[in-house]
């Protein structure tokens, strides 16, 4: 799935249309373009690398099969997230009751690598662990909305569409999720994250 020289000339929407016509290379290009973000989403929402890989594979195969159903009413990226959200939700329903894995040691280390002194690195690792653990404790619907809106940077409208919600319901869910995350992070750290990450 190496990016081709013409990739920048190919909009997501054009690639979906070509995929719908059976152009596998167009679909691979589209998947490659969004793989990192979609994987980041599935790791945090599906709870674990293996589960995330399975969910992402399920979602992308569903996107391939369903490319003809893309009507262009939302951005292709939003549509891809919709498909992957649904794949995660199906897996959650199958796994209901199982504890989620806590991801993030590697990510915490990545944050720490950018800090200068040993104390700053230790504080960043601690903050990263607190964020990872707090996120993992949240309900799946809270993780979904935080990942799409706050991490991946989808607009409010895109996030609502990807989650199958109206805009007011998405905003309400997002606000509750942010408050919940803040409280859980602070309970773990014993102080607000501002003091660590600034």
């Amino acid at each position: 799935m190496e990016p081709g020289i013409l990739e920048q000339d190919q909009s997501d929407e054009a690639l979906v249309r070509r995929s719908a016509a059976g152009d596998r290379s167009a679909f691979e290009r589209l998947a490659s373009r969004h793989a990192a973000a979609l994987y980041r989403f599935t790791v945090r929402v599906c709870g674990g690398e293996r589960e995330a890989e399975d969910a992402l594979q399920d979602g992308l195969l569903a996107a391939w099969r369903g490319a003809a159903t893309f009507r262009g009413e939302s951005a292709a990226r939003t549509w891809l997230y919709q498909v992957v959200v649904n794949a995660c939700r199906r897996r959650h329903r199958r796994r209901a009751g199982e504890p989620a894995e806590v991801e993030g040691e590697e990510a915490a280390a990545a944050v720490a690598a950018d800090e200068s002194g040993p104390e700053a690195r230790a504080a960043a690792r601690q903050a990263g662990r607190a964020l990872d653990a707090a996120l993992a404790e949240l309900a799946p619907d809270a993780r979904e909305v935080l990942m799409l809106r706050d991490v991946e940077g989808l607009s409010g409208e895109e996030t609502a569409a990807a989650l199958g919600l109206g805009l007011p319901a998405m905003k309400s869910r997002l606000h509750r999720a942010r408050l919940d995350l803040k409280a859980r992070v602070e309970a773990r750290l014993g102080h607000a994250i501002e003091e660590v990450v600034g």
Binding site: R40, W64, A107, L131, L179, V185, I193
Partner: protein
């Protein structure tokens, strides 16, 4: 769950709870001008809301910064997807 742990005030026509309820819309730039100015007016006169709002913003920002630096998808994922597409196309 009570989030407000500081003495509640009414400043600029808003209570601390009013400000708390509007924090996400404020942070996301989705409050219309007068509502935004009211929140800012309250925060200027309320240390508790100023501190809480700053921490709220920092938590959201830290989450994004932290997770955007998470590891890339493993190389095996690309191979798995290609194999799955191969199987899919074989069945068609």
């Amino acid at each position: 769950m009570s989030t407000i742990t500081w003495p509640v005030k009414v400043v600029a026509g808003l209570s601390c709870q009013d400000v708390l309820d509007r924090l996400s819309d404020y942070l996301d730039g989705e409050l219309p001008g007068p509502a935004r100015e009211a929140v800012e007016g309250h925060v200027k006169g309320c240390d508790g809301c100023a501190r809480f709002g700053g921490e709220f913003k920092s938590t959201v920002r830290a989450l994004r910064d932290h997770l955007l630096r998470s590891p890339a998808p493993p190389a095996r994922l690309v191979a798995r997807l290609r194999e799955a597409l191969d199987r899919e196309l074989d069945q068609e």
